[in-house]
Subunit: 240 residues, 2 copies
DNA sequence: ACTGATTTGTGCGTATGTATC
DNA sequence: TGATACATACGCACAAATCAG
């Protein structure tokens, strides 16, 4: 290091990062090859490689042996609040397709789902898997659980509407609120990987949500898995 | 299958899951070996294996070849709200150690951090990495960024206090609020893997946060990485 | 350093039920 | 109705990892 506290590779990382942000290297485009970058910054190739590795770790670029380095599209922001709805969140994005039902089934409520829905264990539930696609890219795979007694036909309505919100409206739930959101990360299962078009051990973001009707009665529990690199969940605290 | 719609391995999964929840198999303890479970449920070993694989995917158990199957501790809930503080969130847990400073440095504000802190790019920042440990298990690795002008000595104070909240208090910030929380998932880097004691490609949960002082001025940006399986971020909407 | 016992991981073959066309 | 594909479940055998002696 020249001066203590300023690492050369960090400066290069920041220089490239802001050039990407500024559009010098547009999303999907190629970065100059390592040797050219090393020449430009007047450092050894190993030094730029450290900066490039940091950019890759941050998800800003992807590095492919033998092909080159490519600028990745910035993550899509998924804001979460009391009135979170998937369709409203992303419908302004171009290339949004309606939700596709992969399969649906009835099941006795497992303990964890029963607790979230505030029903007794074993209560009959309707469940279905819902794949969301934007620009032919799968972005999320969600399992929805509903109490079967109140929402017996929800899966059919979802097929017609392509939206949980609209399907619920047809069953008399004009409005609903997000009560709880849990987030964790784990490796994709094989089935998830095939639907989300990521490889087997890729990290997925798991978002569990509980939605309640205006009376506060839980109506839906959703388990949504999205490919780690494509989404970013944002929770903004209300400003004063 | 006996009855349509009821899969044997799913029933076994649910039976074991509720036994784990009920404490029949306590956290950290061993599950019976596969052959015993197969005998008990009167099915083939492959069938219990499918149930066990599902439990592993859900993070309920860990399976180790040659050793056995072990019940995992339930994920620690990390509630997020306006007044989120790491130390307060987890200090009630037994075995909590104060934050350990791994390294600290000064840096010119990268574009993304500058935007979050609402300072010009290149503004001088103080940054440090902070490792949190509970029961000798590393749970999170956080990089904190502060404007250097206002918080020049924050790293030293953190070393003394072991808590960002206390360090800020010594610099005149008696209170602060969480304005924004972003969450995404990616694979661990080698450095993260070594600190968090997980393997190289394991999924990590990345939580980026912006904290502001009571006047609404950003004072800190934190990038926190935690091993995917150990935490669960929970955002609860305020009830009516 | 070796052996054997225990336990999970993997592969093969077979049968049956479900879904689709 | 038949053909085909796929998922579920069973039985057997062996490989690989771990641990105790």
């Amino acid at each position: 290091m020249r001066r203590p506290g300023t690492l050369i590779w960090r400066e290069i990382e920041e220089a490239l990062s802001s050039e990407i942000a500024a559009g010098v290297y547009p999303a999907g485009g190629r970065l100059p090859v390592e040797t050219d970058l090393a020449d430009r910054f007047g450092v050894n190739r190993h030094t730029v490689r450290q900066a490039l590795a940091a950019l890759q770790e941050r998800g800003a670029i992807s590095i492919e042996q033998g092909r080159g380095m490519f600028v990745k599209a910035p993550k899509l922001a998924y804001p979460i609040g009391r009135r979170t709805r998937f369709t409203e969140n992303v419908s302004h994005l171009p290339g949004t397709a309606p939700g596709r039902l992969l399969r649906h089934w009835r099941t006795a409520a497992p303990a964890a789902i029963a607790r979230d829905l505030r029903v007794r264990r074993g209560t009959s539930l309707v469940a279905f898997d819902d794949l969301r696609v934007i620009d032919d890219e799968p972005v999320s795979l969600t399992t929805h659980y509903f109490p079967a007694e109140r929402f017996a036909t929800i899966a059919d309505l979802f097929v017609q509407c392509g939206s949980v919100t609209k399907a619920l409206a047809q069953l008399g739930v004009a409005d609903y609120l997000r009560r709880l959101t849990r987030v964790h990360a784990r490796a994709a299962t094989l089935e998830e990987a095939s639907h989300l078009k990521c490889d087997g051990a890729a990290p997925v973001l798991v978002v569990e949500s509980i939605n309640v009707d205006p009376q506060g009665v839980p109506i839906e529990v959703g388990h949504s898995r999205s490919a780690g690199g494509r989404w970013e969940i944002v929770f903004e605290s209300p400003q004063d």
